[in-house]
Structure formats: C-alpha cells, structure tokens
C-alpha cells in the first residue's frame, strides 16, 4: 500500500449529532481498510496552520469517495467545518496500519468512545464478512456525543450504549459493561477506538478476560507520514524491547498488550536508546 496526496472535492458536509460528516471525491483511493486514516491539510496554502489533521477514515467507496467524521474544536477543524460542497481539500490517504482481522470466525467485540466509532462500521462489516460474531459497545460523555449507534446496530449481533451522564443507555463507562459482553459471548478479540484512557481500560479488561485487543491510538501528529517523530509512544516489540514507536506508520492500531499505557507521555528508562545516567 502506498499513500497518495490528492486534491479532493467536497461532495457534502452534514451535521450528525455533535459531529460533522464530510464526504469527498477521491477516485484515486481504492485500498482502504478499517483503521486506516487520512491526513488533511487545513487553512489553505497561505494559512497559519501548517500541520495536517489526522482523521480515521469513516467509510470508503473504492475509487469514488472517502468519508470522515470530525468535531470542530481547534482552528484547523473549525476551518474545515467552514468548507462547503465544491471546495477542495488536500488529503493524503490511506495511511497507517489498519486493524488485523482474525483468520478464524471468532466472536469479536467492537468498543468505541465518541467519534472513535467512525471507522467501526467498516470494521464490523469486514468482521461479518469473515463470519465473525460482532458485539458492539459504544460510549460517550453524553447522548449528543454518541456516534454511529443505528449504523452499527444494523451490522452487529448486539449493541450496548453507555453514557457518563445516563442520557442514553447504561449510565457509566464502556468498561463497566465490557467484561459482561466478553463473558456472555465468549469473545476472543476486542477492537477499540477512542480516547487514550478508554483504550487503556479496554485493553486491561480484555486481557483480564482472556481476549486479545487491538487499539487505534490517538496521538497528536505533525505529518502523519512518518518523518516528524512527533506521535511516538512506548510499544513493546516482538523481541520484548520497548521502542518509541510512531503511531502514524507503526500504528495507529497496536495490540493492547503491547502498549505501555502507564508510560505514555514518558520515555521508560528501559526503552531502546533511553537516556542513561551521565548522558546518553
């Protein structure tokens, strides 16, 4: 797979709950897998925001369109939210390592927080195409921040919603119900996308209940293509050595048991090339 840098015309920009749903023409992109992301230039060629914004790819019609879900919260995403059908966006896609699908038709759980649900409908369809059972747990702070409930319901065997404030579904966190879902369905794999504290909790619950987990992490990036070394986090490699891995090219999907969650935002002292007393 190789990423392409392309100028994409916006087909539509539609509010969905607390988010925006953007569809763009992308005839050059045909190999999107669930968990792939795209890096979007924002602000225009003379704007003050130089760095790309990374979004997971919500949906893709091969050779036709890409779809994204985002929330305007900073100057870059606000600029994007002000674009309209017919405007052109510079997009690099597809990027990153996607979710790995099971070889056997096992029972899987999809867990997502907020717009972390964006890539999960695509994943649920793929898992079902592999004859996997798919159970879904969607969480958010409040009902307005839930995403994809109806769409994911239509491509899964069961779906549970949690909200922190109880405005929809079970009051609480996704991890309050996850162990029950895993036990009930004898799930062997958990796929997660959402904020880092949620991913850590999901990875721990999965491991405690004998399931593998794959987590699409959210680290701030400058380039999205592997050259800036900004988006690193401590990952345990196949050789047992912890390295500061780039979430853009080594991820964004990592095995939950390979991420040193407690050490994110630090360089563990046993990491490859970590500072030693008296200097490097």
């Amino acid at each position: 797979m190789s990423a392409k840098q392309i100028n994409c015309t916006i087909k539509s920009m539609t509010p969905v709950g607390g988010y925006l749903h953007m569809i763009v023409d992308a005839p050059e992109v045909s190999e999107v897998q669930p968990g792939h992301f795209a890096a979007l230039a924002v602000g225009g060629p003379n704007g003050a925001t130089l760095l790309r914004r990374a979004f997971s790819i919500h949906k893709s019609t091969p050779g036709e369109t890409l779809e994204f879900i985002f929330a305007p919260h900073g100057p870059g995403t606000q600029w994007l939210a002000n674009q309209r059908a017919g405007d052109v966006i510079d997009i690099i896609a597809p990027l990153g390592k996607p979710f790995i699908l099971p070889k056997q038709p096992i029972a899987c759980v999809i867990v997502a927080g907020g717009y972390g649900a964006a890539p999960m409908e695509l994943l649920a369809r793929e898992l079902r195409a592999h004859n996997c059972r798919v159970d879904v747990v969607l969480g958010a702070g409040t009902q307005e921040k839930l995403f994809g409930v109806l769409d994911l319901k239509s491509v899964s065997d069961s779906l549970v919603v949690t909200t922190d404030d109880g405005t929809s579904g079970v009051r609480g966190r996704v991890t309050d119900v996850l162990a029950g879902v895993i036990t009930k369905n004898n799930s062997q794999a958990v796929y997660a996308c959402g904020p880092m504290p949620m991913l850590q909790a999901v990875a721990e619950v999965a491991q405690a209940n004998g399931a593998f987990s794959q987590c699409a992490v959210e680290e701030s990036m400058a380039c999205g293509i592997g050259v800036c070394m900004t988006c690193v986090l401590p990952i345990i490699g196949d050789d047992g050595v912890t390295r500061m891995a780039r979430s853009c090219v080594d991820g964004p999907v990592f095995r939950g048991d390979r991420v040193r969650w407690d050490d994110v935002d630090t360089v563990p002292s046993d990491a490859f090339g970590a500072p030693r007393p008296g200097g490097h």
Partner: protein
Amino acid sequence: MSVDLTTSLGSLELSAPTLTASGCAAAGRELAQFGDVSSLGAVVTKSIMMEPRSGRATPRMAETPSGMLNSIGLQGPGIEAFLEKDLSWLTENNVTTIVSIAGNNVDEFGELARILAKVPGVAGLEVNISCPNVESRGQVFACNPVSAAQVIETVRSVWHSDAPILAKLSPDVTDIVEIAHSVVEAGVHGVSMINTLLGMVIDVDKMKPMLGGRTGGLSGPAIRPVAVRAIYQVHAALPSLPILGMGGIRNGHDALEFIAAGASAVSIGTVVFGDPGAPWRIATELGKELEARGYDSLREVIGLAHHN
C-alpha cells in the same frame, strides 16, 4: 527556454536547488511515495548520533501561528543501524545524501565523521552543532565561537573525503557572523542556516509548559525573516562561503528570497510536514519565479540582493 536550476555547495554539484531539511524527512524513504527522491538536490538526513536514542517524552509538538515548536530530542537508531538500513537505501536509490551528525561532545562528532568518511554514498556532511533539544544548553556548540570551531576542527581533521562539510548554525546568538567566521577559520566548507529558535508554549489549563521537553525549537514560515536576515548578514561578511538556506520556505517565491540573500541552495523543512510534495513543488515554482523575472540561471541570482 527553461531556467538552469543547477547549483553547488562547495565541491558538491547539485542537479536541483531544493533539498530536504534535517529532521524533516527522516532518511528520505518515507517521501518516496510522493516523488522521486533521487531528483532532489539532496536528502539531508535527520541528525544521526553514535548510539540509538529514544528522544524526549511527548508531547513533542505544539502548533504555533505559521509554525511549530518541536522537542523531539534527536530520536534515532544510532550510526550502525543508520548505515545498515538508511544509508544503504539512499545509496541503492541513487539519492544524493548529506548526512547530518550530532554528538554529545566534540569526540563523538569526530568519531561519526571518521566512520562516515570511509562510507561510499556520503555526498556531504552537515554538522549539527545547533540542536536546541538537548538536555544541556551548554551542548549547543554553535552558541559559542570557540566550541563551534573545536567541533569543526575535530571533524575536519578526520574527514579524508572530498565531500563538503557544512556547519549548521543557530540564530539564537548575539552575532551569527562571528560564529560563521569562527567555523570558516576551523576549515568548514559551507554553512547551513538557520536551525530552529528556542521557544516555549504554556498550557494555561494545566499551568505548565505544553511540551514534554518544556522548551522546543520554533520552525516554519514564522521564522523565515530571521533566516533571510541571518543569511544576508553572513553572505555580506563572507561572500565566497557557500550557504545552504532553510527556515520556513513554503513556496518558490520564498526560496528566491533566500537565494537573493546569498544562499546557493535551500532546504525545505517544516513545510514538508504539511505538504510532503513541497521539495519538488518548490523547485518548479522557483524556476517559474526566476523565469518571470528574466533570469537564465539560479547561479546568477545568488546574493543579488546585496548589489542593489
């Protein structure tokens, strides 16, 4: 008639005027999906050190108006793995490669140069004496004319190669011309300027510096006028010294400013993060800017702003 964009940095002839900037293109391989890396003037690699290095804790980046702060801390694989994996790829793909080196002390710079002098495929050496993201600001050799010269003398003494040595200078000094004189006397063949400026962003919700490393290097178009000034000053004082210019170049018009100030070629840095095709695009745009002004070649414009 198309404009002649060939140029040179000392003894190194360049087929194109735009290079990557150290730390902004890793070792070139990731850019290969966006263009033919061998058609660039050169790839300037991320600074390589003797030992593998994890770099600093995250957050490592903060976007700022028309720029960014970075605090990567020279994450890298160490010279051994660099030669095996990165330089071999560059050589196999016929990429003109300028290797950037960084040492914790003068001896490490010497050791890196000694190793690289024997390796085929090294077209030039950029000596990074100005990275701000090191634990001790005392290690920023380029802030002191004596220590800057010590590094260059040591590198020069083991550099049995025809490839040019460039010293990368910091703008965070009182008088950059003094530093330039000092490295020239120590035997450098050219200078790269400018490295990032030391900066800080504070997160007022957490009430602490935003970057894990607290301070970071400011880059991008925000620093461009500082770079143009520094190049102009050094070219005025040392008109025959080859200068590789960098600092926020975003398009061909910007690149032309650097050439007119006295740079012989330009490196494209932070802008690559937003536009990985920028090194190729800017070379094309520079050709058009020159053509539009009636010039036949890039070489005739180097330092031209000093004559008017």
